[in-house]
């Protein structure tokens, strides 16, 4: 059954990403997600990107559903169910958080909950960087693929540099899967604990349909956050996903 929430505020974050603020009395953990229904259009998974009196979804325009959401304004309504899934396990040790693209939406509430964290925010170019000013008390590094701001290159390359300089007790990551895969490999090789939030095409969101599974792990119910022991078993990570029919397709 859905809860209907009113959009209190809309913020254009980047040319392709908008944030939607709303009031809802559920109590999610960082890394958990909701299923958002736009009646007559589509229903899709969205991470919670802020957990305060006002909650927030931060949405990139991808297809019909997210495009319809981008057309919504203050006063319009969203139908939501959740929170679902297993979120991040926090740590007291120094942590490195690496977010690519909308991956930062998933990571934002975690970063605010961590005591000691350095952050890498990465995007294709300067314009698509998300939440660069949101964490004033954290050390924020920036990477862009085209070098328009900060480090020129992939987030994983910058992560390797930072990891070799400082002793981190945990690495958290979310973003494009090739980036996640590269960071997981770096951490596995150096035996640093890592948690990654994964994305797969979702239908039920509650662990019955198998559409979101990766090597037998249900992203909606066993994840979306997985730790190094599970990630190491995922031979499909960064290589294969499944389309809505369940057919394996290359990432």
């Amino acid at each position: 059954m859905y809860r209907v929430v009113r959009i209190e505020k809309v913020v254009q974050e980047t040319p392709s990403i908008k944030s939607f603020y709303f009031v809802d009395n559920s109590n999610p953990a960082p890394g958990q997600f909701y299923m958002v229904w736009i009646p007559g259009v589509d229903e899709f998974p969205m991470s919670i990107s802020a957990i305060d009196d006002l909650k927030r979804f931060t949405v990139k325009k991808i297809g019909d559903g997210t495009a319809a959401m981008h057309n919504l304004q203050e006063g319009d309504r969203l139908w939501i169910r959740g929170p679902y899934g297993r979120g991040f396990k926090p740590t007291d040790e120094p942590a490195l958080v690496v977010g690519g693209g909308t991956g930062m939406a998933t990571l934002a509430p975690l970063i605010n909950a961590l005591r000691d964290a350095d952050v890498i925010i990465a995007a294709r170019n300067e314009k698509e960087l998300l939440f660069v000013d949101e964490f004033p008390d954290k050390e924020v590094h920036i990477a862009t693929d085209d070098g328009s701001r900060g480090f020129k290159g992939f987030a994983s390359e910058l992560a390797a540099v930072l990891i070799d300089k400082k002793e981190y007790g945990m690495v958290y990551t979310c973003g494009p899967e090739p980036m996640i895969k590269a960071i997981v490999d770096i951490c596995l090789a150096r035996k640093i604990p890592v948690q990654a939030s994964l994305e797969r095409f979702m239908k039920c969101g509650i662990g019955v349909c198998d559409s979101c599974s990766i090597n037998g792990f249900r992203v909606c119910a066993d994840g979306p956050v997985f730790s190094e022991k599970e990630l190491a078993q995922m031979t499909e990570l960064g290589k294969w996903k499944r389309d809505p029919s369940g057919m394996k397709v290359k990432i």
């Binding site: 059954m1 859905y2 209907v4 299923m35 229904w37 009646p39 007559g40 589509d42 229903e43 899709f44 309504r77 139908w79 169910r81 239908k203 039920c204 969101g205 509650i206 662990g207 019955v208 349909c209 198998d210 559409s211 599974s213 090597n215 037998g216 792990f217 249900r218 119910a221 499944r242 389309d243 809505p244 029919s245 369940g246 057919m247 394996k248």
Partner: protein
């Protein structure tokens, strides 16, 4: 104590994974087997790749689920890869299939047999896919024809899965005379309306109801058919606990399948039910689960 034999297939325990729940990929089925399932039934597979319906495809209720997945599946050719991985998985694998014609059912059944399936389960009962499932399964003549033709063309056991959306399920069970076993029930045709959106929730409008609320319906179906038809029955519908399972056995089921309960209780439900049913049997002086099958009819 829990092991059973149905149509010469040996199951380490009578708690099987129901079709359509966590069985699109071999890896996930392996995981369910690791958690103690006595056998697995695959997602229903058809002739061609189908993406299924647009979301929302599921609606959660306090007492169950309504789903209209729309029979998504990669198609029988592509599914061979998953079946190959399941060889030597340690428990029987039942290939579920759906077709729009008798010829399609025959083709799909032969394919499943070639892929190494230990039995086929004919989905004559999905309530929400046009031209498939229940649209065929409510017609005794079609049921008899499809089961008969499939039976002639494969040598593995043929299980027939029945819909409860009929006036008289015993009539359909009798029409499936050539089947080696009967599986009942599939979901009940149902719908949900969101009063704020003022429209049906499921993109397909209609779906199938499953979970705790359908158990009394499934139980009644098994009880009635057990009285009239002499072949193994696999009970499905709302099994969430060891007591639910025992009710089905006592009504006449030789095994049960579990679906929706995995959402609420997780895959560990298989081991838990096995343990608790075995405890109950011991406490009541039974040596085998077989001894309680149909006892409610005494």
């Amino acid at each position: 104590m829990l092991s059973i034999t149905i149509n010469n297939l040996h199951f380490p325990n009578p708690f099987l994974l129901a079709s359509g729940i966590l069985d699109e990929s071999a890896d996930t089925m392996f995981r369910i087997i690791k958690h103690g399932a006595g056998g697995v039934v695959t997602k229903s597979i058809g002739m061609k790749k189908r993406g299924g319906y647009q979301n929302p495809v599921i609606y959660e209720l306090p007492y169950g689920l309504i789903n209209a997945m729309g029979l998504p599946n990669p198609g029988i050719e592509a599914f061979g890869e998953e079946m190959k991985k399941l060889k030597n998985c340690g428990v029987p694998v039942i290939g579920s299939i759906f077709g729009g014609t008798t010829d399609e059912f025959v083709y799909l059944a032969k394919k499943m047999e070639n892929y190494g399936a230990d039995a086929v389960e004919l989905n004559l009962s999905c309530p929400h896919a046009k031209g498939y499932g229940m649209e065929i399964g409510v017609n005794p003549n079609l049921v008899a024809e499809i089961v008969g033709e499939v039976k002639k063309s494969v040598s593995i056991p043929v299980w027939c899965k029945l819909t409860p959306n009929v006036t008289d399920i015993v009539e359909i069970a009798k029409a499936a005379d050539k089947a080696d076993a009967l599986v009942m029930i599939n979901t009940l045709k149902a719908m949900a309306i969101d009063i704020e959106a003022q429209r049906p929730v499921l993109s397909n409008t209609y779906g199938g109801l499953s979970g705790p609320c359908v158990k009394p319906v499934g139980l009644r179906a098994v009880y009635d058919v057990f009285k009239e038809v002499d072949k193994p029955i696999i009970g499905v519908g709302g099994v969430c606990s060891w007591t639910d399972a025992l009710e089905y056995f006592m009504a006449g089921a030789s095994a049960v399948q579990i679906g929706t309960a995995i959402a609420t209780k997780g895959p560990t439900i298989f081991a838990e039910i096995s343990r608790d049913v075995a405890d109950w049997l011991k406490k009541h002086g039974y040596d085998s689960i077989k001894d309680v099958v149909g006892v409610a009819h005494r």
